[in-house]
Point group: C2
Chain length 418, copies 2
């Protein structure tokens, strides 16, 4: 444990030192570095693919399932995509230095609040090597140093990618150690990172519920939780059936493994007899398994009965729980009880119900007549996404570059005393 | 421990239920309640003073020191002041519902981000009973339920105050349990509160370093740290001596016990021979004990030598550490090494040094030619202050009503799918 601690502390200290200079670098220098990092990824793709091949072989030898191997595997196309991501990040506006509040006080003090980088951001993630590139790019553009800790399965790929990115960044005038990578496989590394108060300013975990809760339970560094989504769609009495079916199918089946996919469909009792069989057929045609409440089973006796556990399960798969509710109040109550405060949607023609739903459902994103799948930094127009915050502190919902900044007050006087 | 847990969970659950209705109450209802709470405090002052008398007697019997007894003691004037605080909170603009971002996307989705209450705010504090009133008022105005846990010394006063506030609030249409108070003296109560994930949305500790770190180390609920301030003033080579002395005396002596008081004075080496004796005399005339670095001692051999520990000590008293530094870079380096990221000031006529200092010192508030004592919600014009955040997540520096809100995205479509 002490060796792990020393190793991580030395990297976090180096990142902290780099962060001071990095925080005040001109936007042009950061953009130039991002472009050089993109070029370097492509120029050194052979090295990256070789390292990745070792990870893939090891995963296959462990008998890892195919979908997982697919996410881990890089090829020239995926490296080009990562490089394109870097180039797009260079195009984004730089939030650092923006003033978001200013006032001149009666005593003459000029007060303004400006956006500044956090300093050092710790990112703990799993599986896919492209997260390494994304995270490094967004931290750099927002003037932050980063300490990255990727999953052990991709450790060779990640180490090589970071080596390539670091070298290119340093060439372009970025301080050494602005991008640090923890290459310790031991899970204790996560615990140790989460306690680096004073060196790491914020930790963002990206991954499954197990990782997130291990970080939250152990962290003394402030954490931004991302992640799990038990998203709901409520089909109100006045809903347009075609629209509701279209949205339900999209929200469940367009990409069932992601956090903004629908997991529970709520249906107003007054339309259930007509609507349930229609939506059931449309979803079953796409291969979805439906698990229904008692009232659903009375209408469609062939449905699998839902258990209490179903209402709080993020299936991440072609499975959907379905419940018939009395009205919009009951829908809101169900959602606020079972959801993970991610994304929920109402399909309705009733403006009053729409408004009540939006204000009373306690989630990061509340939709009217649209698919929950739109909760995404790119879909919101941020041009980037470091994750989707499901907590209420600091950032909620999709996090773009601005979520990677904090603020400071600059106050100018001419001798004022209190 | 289980009894404590059950008790706190039941109060937090009640607060959570209240928070749903509270979040969407019209501003007028909240303001009316604040005014009735103010009236009730004054109308029932005898009951409050009686309960407070019991706390004061118990503190005296324990041999508590006089300054502490003074902070604990209420009288008619102090109750009137608390009532005035409630009335002033009613006058403040309500942040809930404000839109801080909006966009219409190419696919027609209308996205806006609005300010909403957190839900339930836990506030853990020490000593003074007026914090109970302040905290309850600011949480209510921002649409949040609160779970308060005050110091054991003021427990009878706090219980009575909360009883009076709750009754008046309920009369005015605020949901029951919007203001909950934990009357468990056992310190485990703090630990238990900090782990109420899903019931308490954020914890704000207000008190000494011991309380803050106990909360941070144990919390799984997100925390906003407030508090400790090792504040610096750097007197640059070009400083106006009169202004610098005036500000140094104000920052150290106007209220030495508070977190925005100066603890370390840094002096540019080129002016030290002339400036140090002058500022020393001015401070000593106010009863300040100066502890100097080696270079200070060469100029003023009668100074007490500062130890390494002095540079990171928040004296909260009429003691000051003094260090001579080579230039603005050395001043910034010293500050970023030893400070608590609270408030620091440069006294200079050099615009370049002022700018460098403001952007490179990593603190919540960085001043030019003004006293650090201005870091305060009222001085910044917020009309209120729940504390001064010394962390970077969510809120930094003085926190007014807006810091007690989070955001949510409301997205309106007409059938969009992805």
């Amino acid at each position: 444990m002490q060796i792990i601690k020393n190793e991580i502390m030395s990297k976090a200290t180096a990142a902290k030192q780099a962060s001071v200079k990095l925080a005040n670098l001109p936007t042009g220098v950061k953009n130039e570095a991002l472009l050089k990092m993109a070029d370097a990824l492509e120029a050194r793709s052979k090295e990256i693919l070789f390292a990745n091949g070792l990870d893939v072989d090891a995963a296959k030898a462990r008998g890892t399932r195919a979908s997982y191997i697919d996410r881990l595997t890089l090829n020239e196309k995926r490296i080009t995509d990562m490089a394109e991501g870097l180039r797009q990040t260079a195009e984004l506006p730089d939030p650092v230095g923006n003033t978001d509040f200013s006032v001149v006080r009666p005593n003459g003090l000029k007060i303004r609040r400006v956006k500044v980088p956090f300093g050092v951001i710790g990112i703990i993630y799993e599986a896919r090597p492209n997260v390494t590139v994304d995270a490094a790019a967004l931290c750099l553009k927002s003037g932050n140093a980063c300490v990255l800790r990727g999953g052990s399965e991709a450790i060779r790929s990640n180490k090589k990618i970071v080596e390539v990115l670091q070298a290119a960044a340093t060439d372009a005038g970025i301080p050494d150690h602005a991008i640090e990578f923890i290459d310790i496989i031991d899970r204790d590394a996560v615990i140790v990172m989460c306690k680096m108060r004073g060196l790491i300013d914020v930790i963002i975990p990206r991954g499954g519920a197990g990782l997130i809760s291990r970080v939250v339970e152990n962290a003394s560094v402030p954490v931004i939780e991302t992640g799990t989504g038990v998203c709901h769609i409520f089909v109100d009495k006045s809903a347009d059936f075609d629209m509701a079916i279209n949205i339900a199918v999209n929200a469940k089946t367009s990409r069932p493994s992601v956090c903004n996919a629908m997991e529970t469909l709520l249906i107003h009792r007054d339309i259930a007899v007509d609507f349930l069989p229609l939506v059931k057929k449309a979803l079953e045609d796409k291969g979805v398994e439906l698990r229904g409440c008692d009232r659903c089973l009375k209408i469609c006796p062939d449905m699998i009965p839902a258990t209490e556990e179903d209402w709080s399960t993020e299936y991440g798969d072609l499975i959907l729980s379905v419940k018939i509710v009395d009205n919009v109040d009951a829908a809101i109550e169900h959602i606020n009880h079972y959801n993970t405060q991610h994304s929920d949607s109402i399909i309705t023609k009733d403006a009053h119900n729409a408004t009540q739903f939006q204000w009373e459902v306690d989630s990061a994103a509340v939709f009217v007549n649209a698919s929950t799948r739109f909760t995404d930094g790119f879909e919101f127009g941020f041009g980037a996404e470091i994750g989707i915050s499901t907590q209420k502190l600091h950032a909620r919902g999709p996090m773009g570059l601005e979520a990677l900044t904090t603020t400071k007050y600059l106050i100018n006087g001419n001798g004022q005393i209190r």
